[in-house]
Amino acid sequence: MINLEFIVNTLSLGSLYAMLALGLVIVYGILRLVNFAYGELIMVGGYTMYLLAGFTPLPWFVIAILAIVAAMFTSLFTELVAFRPVREKSLTAMLITSFAVSTLLQNGALLIISPRARAVTLPQLFQTSVMIAGTSIPWRNILTILTCILTLTLLTLLLRRTVLGIALRAAADNFTMTRMLGVPANTVISTAFAISGIMAGIVSIFFISRSASVTPTIGAPPLLVAFVATVIGGMSSLTGAVVGGFVYAIIISLLGVFLPPGLLEFREAFMFAIVIIILLFRPEGLIRSKTTGERVG
């Protein structure tokens, strides 16, 4: 069962989840905000692709870029309108705000577009496979892995080589201190939300290609995955998020192979039980970094 196909599938799933978790963690690291509206950014990317592919003659590559841009701007917009005003108030207020933003975007799509699923036309490449060493591997999976490598490289360069990136990492480490040293809070937070949106946009391309359709509630499953991957990786570490994404993919693939069929449908429940256990016994995640939250007792 553990053959080349399994390995490539798991790697591609891991790449997808790693990017997904990164987008969530980059905001969490700075604001301590678990962004419930993150899944809806993926939905925004999906609807952008649906609208552009269905009603404009643009080439597919341009459409994909525009989907990422749309997700990024939605992310920036939610930060500006909803999160910035409640940022100083309390963490609980911010969390409820993100839950409200998520509901708002979801029902906005329901209201403006349709409750029904919309088919997204994808290029031929996403449906074809290539033969490697006697097994057929879908191009989509290879593309996911390549995109992940490219994205992670670019992000690492941004975070390590640019002033903005260094400010971002400093803010994730100690936001108050960073602000005292003259780094404007709004710039850092906006950048984090922009990167989060870009990640969601990239993920939306590959996530939506799996079902080739988009619905208003499509953001929920990837959000749950991102939660789990983030917790496994330790909430505030970017490396941890990538590791968490891959660990999630490996666990879920192995559960798929080894769990008896009767229990297979409870797979999600198992994953979330793992989350609770990790948060209880290793709240700093599998990759040790700064602590997640205060724990009593």
Binding site: R32, P85, K89, T97, F99, A100, L110, L111, F266, L280
Partner: protein, 353 residues
């Protein structure tokens, strides 16, 4: 606080109960079936929101799993009130030992609440150590787990299919009685020693710990009480709606009761009551508009989601401009009783001594 002062502070629940009774009487006198339905559901929601307030308001920690316990209570109560024949009719795969169970309405409701409370007690003790984001993710995870289990336990809940054939028991006055009891319970809890300790730990966890408050146990007790109330409310709701699926106990409902509590003001019992009234009224008006537009048939795919969009915007605006909700941490009290006279007396008496 001495005893007379405690009794005086009782005017908050009395005012709230009076409000509930006035609404119930008006509804009864008007006798419009639609209004009666709305008000009955509102009182069940009120119970849920009060239960949520009991934990969230006193401990200051968000709880996403509340609706999950409502679901557990609903399914448990229904298993006891339905006749064996009706049960097999809706779900022929039911585990054989569940088929002969049959009890009257009230004991079934209590069992529903107790099962929810028992599960909460078993699961939640370790979770009570977590605060902030970790607490939010774990309760969210708990909601997902409960949902997945309800959804796939075909032989108990009928799986994702609708469970139908539940008898109608919850009338307007049943829901009123339960809402009134819950107002007193939640208010008494807030003023009790446990409630006081919990609120102390909410305001300053280090100071509270330093005077010997066991925060984890206090949170745990509140969480169990809150789950019990949610479980009973679930049973009431189930015997009003009479057919439902596990999707009735998931994110949409969670959003609604959170909105009710946050808009009203999570830190006071009055806030929970006011929030439930305001949000129910707003929802029904918006829903009316939504239905009207749908009848007009302007949009090819229908006009859905309008209610939730407006509600979400209002929620965000409240959080921006009044983050502690309409009531803040104030409770409604009778305005005329001011302790000025008494203060003079105490001054005099202390002067004599």
């Amino acid at each position: 606080m001495n005893l007379p002062a405690r009794l005086k502070s009782f005017n908050t629940p009395l005012i709230l109960v009076a409000g509930v009774l006035v609404i119930a009487l008006l509804t009864q006198l008007l006798g419009i079936p639609l209004l009666t339905r709305i008000v009955t559901v509102m009182f069940v929601s009120l119970m849920l929101v009060l239960g949520l307030q009991l934990y969230m308001g006193n401990s200051g920690i968000l709880n996403f799993a509340h609706i999950g316990f409502m679901g557990i209570g609903a399914y448990t109560a229904v298993l006891f009130t339905m006749t064996p024949k009706a049960k097999l009719l809706t779900n022929s795969d039911l585990y054989p030992f569940l088929v002969p169970l049959h009890l009257p309405f009230l004991p079934s409701l209590l069992i529903g609440g107790l099962v929810a409370a028992l599960l909460a007690a078993l699961i939640s003790y370790p979770l009570m150590r977590l605060s902030d984001a970790a607490a939010v993710i774990t309760t969210f995870a708990l909601l997902v787990i409960i949902h997945v289990v309800l959804l796939h336990s075909d032989r108990v809940t009928n799986g994702p299919r609708t469970l139908f054939g539940v008898d109608f028991y919850t009338t307007l006055w049943t829901s009123v009685v339960f809402a009134v009891i819950t107002i007193f319970v939640v208010y008494l809890f807030k003023e009790s020693r446990i409630g006081l300790r919990l609120r102390a730990s909410r305001d300053d966890r280090y100071a509270a710990a330093s005077i010997g408050i066991n925060m984890v146990t206090m949170r745990w007790l509140a969480f169990i009480a809150s789950a019990f109330i949610a479980g009973v409310a679930g049973g009431l709701w189930a015997h009003f709606i009479t057919s439902f699926t596990p999707y009735s106990f998931y994110l949409t409902e969670t959003f609604v009761i959170l909105a009710m509590l946050v808009i009203g003001g999570p830190y006071s019992v009055t806030g929970a009551v006011v929030g439930t009234l305001v949000v129910t009224a707003a929802r029904e008006i918006l829903r009316g508009i939504e239905n009207y537009v749908n009848i007009l048939n302007i949009f090819p795919d229908g006009f859905f989601g309008f209610t939730e969009v407006v509600l979400a915007i209002v929620l965000i605006l409240i959080l921006v401009y009044r983050p502690t909700g309409i009531m803040g941490s104030r409770e409604l009290t009778w305005p005329r009783k001011q302790p000025q006279v008494k203060e003079k007396e105490t001054l005099k008496s202390s002067g004599k001594a």
